[in-house]
Each structure stands twice: as C-alpha cells, then as structure tokens.
Symmetry: C2
Subunit: 206 residues, 2 copies
Amino acid sequence: MPRSPGHAAPRKRRTADEARAAILDAAERRLVASGPTAIRLQEVAAEVGVSHPTVLHHFGSREALVEAVVARALDSLHADLMRAVQSAPESEDRLESLLDAVFETLVTHGHGRTFLWLMLSGYAPKEDLRVRSLAEAVHAVRRVKPRKQKKAPPFEDTYYSVLLPALAMLSMSVAGDKVLDEGAPLGPRGFRRWLAKLLHEHYDKD
Amino acid sequence: MPRSPGHAAPRKRRTADEARAAILDAAERRLVASGPTAIRLQEVAAEVGVSHPTVLHHFGSREALVEAVVARALDSLHADLMRAVQSAPESEDRLESLLDAVFETLVTHGHGRTFLWLMLSGYAPKEDLRVRSLAEAVHAVRRVKPRKQKKAPPFEDTYYSVLLPALAMLSMSVAGDKVLDEGAPLGPRGFRRWLAKLLHEHYDKD
DNA sequence: CTCGTTACTGACAGTATTGTAGATAAGGCG
DNA sequence: CGCCTTATCTACAATACTGTCAGTAACGAG
C-alpha cells in the first residue's frame, strides 16, 4: 500500500494492556515454535507491527518479557488442563475421554511442547505440576467404586496410574508423530484407546 | 601459573582427530545442558583450551559443528540403548531390569534430555527411532511363551506396550525429579517396578 | 637437520541483538 | 479546544557471536 512520500504511516496507539497482550501473543508463538531463546525483541516487535523499543517500553527488558510469557503460558497450560479433566464426561468410557482431553491440551494445543521447552531451558515452575491433586481426585473415585471384593488400592497405585499417561502424552507432544507413524496403523487415537483399556483392566482387577 | 612475560604459552598441537574429539566433547556438554543454540564457538573453544578459529578450522562452520555433535549424540544414544536392552538378563524379572536399563540410558546418562532438545529444535533424526524393531524383538518373545491357552496377541499390542514405557522414560528425563517428588515416596525405582508389574499383568492375562 | 604440511593464533570485519535517549504524536480529559 | 500523559518512533551505543585472513610454530618425513 503506497504512502504519500515524506509521510510516515499514521501511528497507531493501543492501550497499554492491548499492546502488552499483542506482544505476549507474538512472543508466545515464538516460544512454542522455537523455545525461549528464540524470543527476539526485533522479531516479536515486527510481528506485532511496532518497533522494538516499544516492546522494551512495555516490559522493561527482554528477560522480563520472557518471564511474563512463561508465566502466562504456564497459567494457560494449567487452566487448559483443569478444564480438560473436568470436561470429561462421567459416563462409562470416562477414562478414554479423559485421555483424549489431556491429549488435546498437551499435544494438539502444543502445551506439552512448551512445557518441555521450559523445563529444558530451566524455567521450571516453582509450584508443583498438580499431578498429585489430580491423582487424589481419581483416587476418591476409585474408592467409592469397589465393584467386587477388592481391598482398597493404595494411593501410590493411583498416583502412578495418573502419572504414566501424563508422561506418555508429554513425550507424544514432541515425538508423537515420529514414533506413531513408525509402527501404529491406528494413529494416536489407537494408542490412547489401548492405554485406556490397559488402565481399565488394571483398575478392574487388582 | 605464571608465564615469562612477553612469551605466549607453548602451543600444543594435537592430531586432527584428537582435536575434533575434544571439541565435540565440549560441544556435546553444552548441547546436553542447554540445547543446540547454546553451542557457541568461543565458549566451546575456551573449554577445550584453544581459540575459536581453531574450531572453525576443524569443522568449517558452526552449523557443521552442530551437525557433527548431533550425529554423534544420536549414534551414542542408539548404541547405548541397544546395549541397554541387550544387557538385560533373560531371567524372571526381565521386564524390570529392562526398564531399569532404559532408565539408565535415557535419564541417568542424560540421553533423553538430549533427544528431546534435538526434537524440539528441529534436529529430528532421519532414521526411525527403532522402536518398531525393538517391539518386534519383544513380540517374538511373547509368541514363544504362550503359557496358558491364550490366543496370540496382535503385534500392535506389543508395539504399544513397548512404546508406553519408552515415552514415559523420555518425559522422566526432563520432568522426572519434579513429578516424582510430588507424590511418590518410593522414588523413580518404585515407579519402574509398578510399571513393570502393570505390563507383566497385561502380558499374562490378555 | 631441513623442510613441508597443517594445527593453531591474534586481529579484524560484519552482523545481529539488546538496550538507551530524545523527539513525536495520539488520545483522553479539563 | 488546548494540554498532559504516554505509547510510539528514529537514531545511536554497546556487546556478543560468527567467520576471514595472514602469519606462526609444532611435528613428521625425507
């Protein structure tokens, strides 16, 4: 689009919050795609359509920007995960839909990649990963459903059975395509169903 | 250590192979610790005790160095994994020792971290991850041991049962400490034993 | 011992990236 | 409408990193 020569493009002025949000969005895209070190002021600024000192104006320093992005990304992951596990229906094949929901968050939405990138880069969250609280919720369900003459399973067993699919999904977010293409005719869905069945067997029998 | 003023330190001359190996070692340490982008000519050179043009002399460019490191690291991972799975004894609790061996390679030796770094950074290996061939080996064992009146399990089942612990170990190499401390009184060993038991159950019953 | 190959070096160039400083103008508010 | 706050800009400084170049010296071969 041609501009009158000698005249700069009309300067657009966002509210501080809008600008910060737009910048965080751009920075997060780069974070997910290529890791924290790929967050460069000039490129982020260009993507938003501003000059890089504007970014510094809003965040103070590159490091502060990165930390803001990390904090927001971890919050987003946490919220998305919570929503996922809560949205799973109470019905029969609860287990599979739960795995599907976690898969959606970690793999499809790319939160798993981001999380691994942050862990590797030393941006580990200070708070726990809340796997324990999730396991506690599942454990409560297991206790009220003693279908046969089972003795109550130890909490440890439930914890591990929650941890296992979580770890698997996490790796899938990075290596899933590669590793599933290699020997799985049914795609990621097949693996999830198999895993759901495995855990179901275990719960039903132990 | 003081040097005569005006005299540089006596220059040491390695064979080209020795120099290359030393440089690759230093670069690989940085790769494992902080990813491919952390491989910087000056720092690698300093760690080896040479000047950075020497590194360029041996490898041509930074990218060529990185690729050499990546190739060597992937070879090393592959060899270590093969050695691990082959060294597992044929005895009864073969499954648990197998998991222990894979854990040793991926988590203790840090190969899991490196692998994830490389995948995230776009240095995915062109060859497969050889999970399939491993699964085929396991599948062969399952067929010759039809303890009861089972029908032969589909290969897919074996493949998934190999894939699952592999993915879990991979994630553990990055988030293991964090996530195990959170709710596992028995440490990583406990998880592995639980997992071995889970798979054993599955194999024995299906 | 001499000589040639080449591992190695210091100095420099070029580029990218973060951060600073001062000026400018957009938009709200009296 | 006029003013003040501040989001935004251009221009520049400072540093870090990769890569080039010409020269030096270590070691093996003859």
